[in-house]
């Protein structure tokens, strides 16, 4: 498994510079500018998908030359870190069924895949920056943290395979609806957790993510989660990522010196 993750990290690192270079010149944020100043304090890891730290820049959401929305840049947040329930409307509850509640109650923090340097899956985010790369045929999401990995999203009109092998990020296809990128994903494994609390899912999970850049500095990510194994009905979580102008991704190899998992105690539940 470690070799697999390392290979993934190497692949992402290898892909990133070429694609980033390709996108230079169409990034209105300046996030790709060479020698861009690093951002001031606060640029490390946010505390949750809604985030703290420096304010996002203001201005209209940019578009690519062909009219599609331009999501390029380095972002932070946009998904649950500690608690998936932070993304649902106030007063509502995550519609766990009995099996979901039972599995969640049995989970121990030490078993959280993220604590063991495994991927976040979807829609969980690590408290580290990430970058979106759009091409005519693909969308890539490059993650700095936990783990130094990437998502490959097909935007060339293809369909899902009939019986995809289960994977951490699943099989993703995307299309644009106006200024929104819609990403449909199936083929997940059942291994990752949605948050530190241990919200579960099965390999029947189907997600639909809607990415909308509401202004220059804000990217709303609404994810509909459909998994009849552990939830009574589909539900949608909403998180907002913030642009980190001038920021670049840094190397983050979680397996390098992971010492925490053997000291972690108790049931999952507290961030």
């Amino acid at each position: 498994m470690k070799k697999l993750i390392l290979a993934t990290a190497i692949a992402a690192t290898a892909i990133a510079p070429a694609i980033i270079a390709q996108q230079r010149g169409q990034d209105p944020t300046g996030a790709n500018a060479p020698n861009a100043p690093t951002s001031p304090a606060g640029a490390g890891g946010l505390t949750n998908g809604r985030g703290r730290g420096p304010q996002a820049p203001q201005g209209p959401a940019p578009k690519l030359a062909d009219g599609r929305p331009d999501f390029s840049g380095v972002w932070q947040g946009g998904g649950p870190v500690g608690d998936l329930a932070q993304g649902i409307p106030k007063g509502e509850e995550i519609p766990l069924n009995d099996a979901g509640k039972k599995l969640m109650a049995s989970r121990q923090s030490k078993d959280d895949p993220e604590a063991n340097c495994l991927p976040t899956g979807v829609p969980r985010q690590a408290p580290y920056p990430w970058r979106i790369i759009q091409t005519q045929t693909h969308v890539f999401i490059l993650f700095e943290g936990n783990i130094h990995s990437y998502r490959q999203i097909f935007a060339d009109g293809r369909k899902h395979p009939d019986d995809p092998d289960p994977t951490w990020y699943g099989h993703s296809i995307a299309h644009y609806e106006g200024q929104t990128l819609v990403v449909d994903t199936i083929g997940f494994n059942d291994k990752f957790w949605f948050d530190f609390r241990g919200h579960p899912h099965s390999d029947k999970l189907h997600t639909i993510e809607r990415y909308t850049r509401t202004n220059l500095g804000s990217l709303t990510v609404e994810t509909t989660i459909d998994d009849p194994t552990y939830y009574t009905k589909p539900f949608t979580v909403k998180f907002t990522a913030r642009l980190r102008p001038g920021e670049e991704l840094m190397e983050y190899i979680c397996q390098e010196n992971e010492q925490d998992s053997k000291h972690i105690q108790g049931p999952a539940g507290t961030p």
């Binding site: 606060g42 490390g44 923090s109 580290y128 010196n257 010492q259 925490d260 507290t270």
Partner: protein, 137 residues
């Protein structure tokens, strides 16, 4: 000085809020109600992910020397806050306060690290709190 004290208070208040800018649940590993303050000499610095760490040798009451493992935020967080891999050096005499590991290991999450000169390093970055700025480099 007043500003410095205010800043220190702010950091302490911030530290009371559970920091989650890590790859694991803070509360599952450290006990915020188990504060620890240690004095010792730095014998090792790991500028590594997922957390930077440093090790200090602390003289115990019985005269023996114990080694403590202190966890910081990730190097990525620390670098973005202006700290470097040279901010703390082997041989530095320091005082560190933080939260001890729940399992009783000689391990803690470092909240405040103060050099013998009085200079504080890694301020504002306990487990990666991104809200505060470093007061010194």
């Amino acid at each position: 000085m007043r500003a410095l004290s205010a800043f220190a208070s702010a950091v302490l208040l911030t530290a009371a809020v559970v920091p989650v800018a890590a790859h694991h649940s803070f509360a599952a590993e450290y006990d915020a109600n188990k504060p620890v303050t240690l004095h010792g000499s730095v014998v090792r610095v790991d500028w590594t992910n997922p957390h930077a760490r440093f090790y200090i040798e602390v003289k115990e009451a019985d005269g023996s020397v114990a080694q403590w493992n202190l966890e910081l935020a990730s190097p990525n967080v620390l670098v973005r806050q202006g700290w470097t891999r040279n901010s703390l050096k082997i041989g530095d005499e320091i005082t560190v306060s933080g939260s001890a590991a729940k399992d009783g290991s000689k391990m803690a999450n470092a909240r405040n690290v103060t050099l013998a000169s009085g200079k504080r390093v890694f301020a504002g970055s306990p487990a990666g709190d991104p809200g505060a700025a470093p007061e010194a480099k």
